[in-house]
């Protein structure tokens, strides 16, 4: 196969079939594959080999956890408990200072409503099967560019969003609509920023206005851009997961920077069918973290773990804290 006739190498074609090409190359590979009988034959060969290999299955004889592992597990957990009882840990100190802070914040938080709503959202998402595949791209775009800019700005108080950079979604991905001055970036996210296994992943009604602070603009926004590019390139979920995972592995996608957070205080958003515009809240990003370190999801805690990423495949933990007012300063309803 000569590259004069084929815009992609054979190895690249294989990488495409494995879901290992970056979005822009995957698009090129797919376009070429649809038209090239020679490459279609090669792709069929690769698939054939893959399928032949599946004949070699290995049946595991063991069913339950073997006694040796059970014993080691019991011993390990016992030692851990003993160590916890005998020495106060740093974790406790962190938690103490956290609660002082969380207590002050609780005045403006609506914790119970948040938890109930999230639970309800998860339950409803599980039941919904309304969006099994991607709708036409037009349904995800907002025809009125100015309306999208206004919605993006509504994610944060005007003192922040008026000087923020504004991105809007176009046919080829997010484009800069307004240059910013303060390092914040405001935009309206679409449904494909849901977890990959969410039934809302292709819900074309979703509009998630948010404003990233500078740390999140550098370290979380690239993920939004990447997912969006892949969706518009027509990649399957499996290909996207592979690509995102590879992106973090090869550092193309950065880890969350210290202090990365975003504002989601718009009353105009629509986050999913279960919660609609939801409650105004802030989100904080970290490398994968135990939710206990923030006291998330504990009774009466205002902090909730958002399952948006959490290793599936992004190695990012995201905590949500509701606030009592919309970005325009009006009081938010207690849910």
């Amino acid at each position: 196969m000569s590259t004069n006739r084929h815009p992609i190498e054979q190895e690249e074609l294989m990488a495409y079939l494995d879901g290992e090409l970056p979005p822009h190359q995957a698009t090129e590979a797919l376009s070429h594959l649809e038209l090239c009988p020679e490459c279609q034959t090669l792709a069929a060969d690769f698939r054939g080999v893959s399928q032949e290999l599946m004949a070699w299955e290995v049946e595991s004889p063991q069913v339950g956890i073997p006694s040796e592992i059970n014993a080691a597990l019991g011993e390990h957990l016992q030692k851990r408990e003993a160590a916890k009882v005998s020495s106060p840990r740093l974790e406790n100190r962190v938690m103490t200072s956290f609660w002082v802070w969380a207590g002050a914040l609780a005045i403006v938080c609506v914790a119970v409503g948040l938890q109930l709503t999230l639970t309800s959202r998860n339950r409803n998402e599980d039941r919904s099967t309304a969006y099994p595949s991607m709708a036409s791209i037009e349904q995800y775009l907002m025809p009125d560019r100015n309306a999208e800019i206004a919605m993006a700005r509504s994610a944060a108080p005007e003192a922040i969003s008026s000087d923020a950079k504004i991105l809007v979604l176009g046919w080829r991905g997010y484009e800069t609509a307004v240059a910013g001055k303060n390092g914040f970036v405001c935009m309206v996210e679409r449904s494909w920023m849901s977890p990959f296994n969410s039934t809302q992943f292709w819900n074309p009604k979703v509009r998630g206005p948010l404003c990233f602070n500078p740390a999140a603009a550098r370290s979380i926004l690239p993920l939004t851009i990447k997912r969006t590019e892949m969706v518009l390139a027509g990649l399957s979920k499996a290909q996207m997961i592979h690509s995102v995972k590879a992106g973090f592995d090869n550092k193309e996608l950065p880890a969350p920077e210290p202090g990365a957070m975003c504002y989601m205080m718009s009353r105009a958003g629509y986050l999913n069918d279960a919660v609609g515009h939801y409650v105004p809240h802030l989100m904080f990003y970290f490398p994968l973290t135990d939710k206990a370190s923030w006291g998330a999801d504990l009774p009466d805690s205002p902090v909730t773990l958002n399952p948006q990423f959490q290793g599936g495949p992004e190695p990012i933990t995201e905590f949500v804290i509701p606030v009592g007012r919309w970005s325009d300063g009006t009081a938010a309803p207690v849910m």
Binding site: Q10, E11, M14, A15, L17, D18, G19, E20, D45, F46, R47, G48, V49, S50, Q51, E52, L53, M54, A55, W56, E57, V58, S60, P61, Q62, I65, P66, E68, I69, A72, L73, H76, L77, R80, E81, K84, N197, S236, A238, Q239, H242, K245, A246, D249, N250, P287, L288, T289, D290, A292, Q310, G311, G312, P313, P315
Partner: protein, 191 residues
Amino acid sequence: MISDEALMLEFQGGSRAAFEELFARYRKPLYGFFGRRLNNPERAEDLAQETFLAVIRAASRYEPRALVRTYLYGIALKLLAAERRRLLTSRTFKQSAREPQTDGTPECVLWVRQAMEKLDAPEREILMLREYEQLSYSDIAELLRIPVNTVRSRLFRSRLALKSHLESESRTNPALRAGAGQPHPERRGMQ
């Protein structure tokens, strides 16, 4: 479904249920990993258990820098290398160096296995990590400590070579091929 990484963190925090879930997810894949490489079911079972024991022992030191999947196969590869070293120097090696066991093995599996054995060892390992363990190119590169581009080029060569070996086997013994290539419902192949 809760991610492997979240389960690992919960286990680190003292959750037995999280470990049991990880065990349920990876027991069969790890047994398959050793089973395909050692031709010795008893040792495959032992080493799969060893992998989990290593996870328990190292739980306090685990950091979520890599996927749990990659972490587990990293341990498995080290145990496999140690086992191979042991076999090279022990009497067990002389016993197991005989022809591969074929009793009760379906012909289609023998056929695939024979074709795989004709590949160069490094290329075979990459192919197996991709096809059976379903690791990404970058995961394989990290585990084998080679560049991602090397993974890709070796994988490419091994697939073409395997295709050629399978075709050659097919010409010499067409009956074998009849039963091969039935996809397993739980596996995801090339898309």
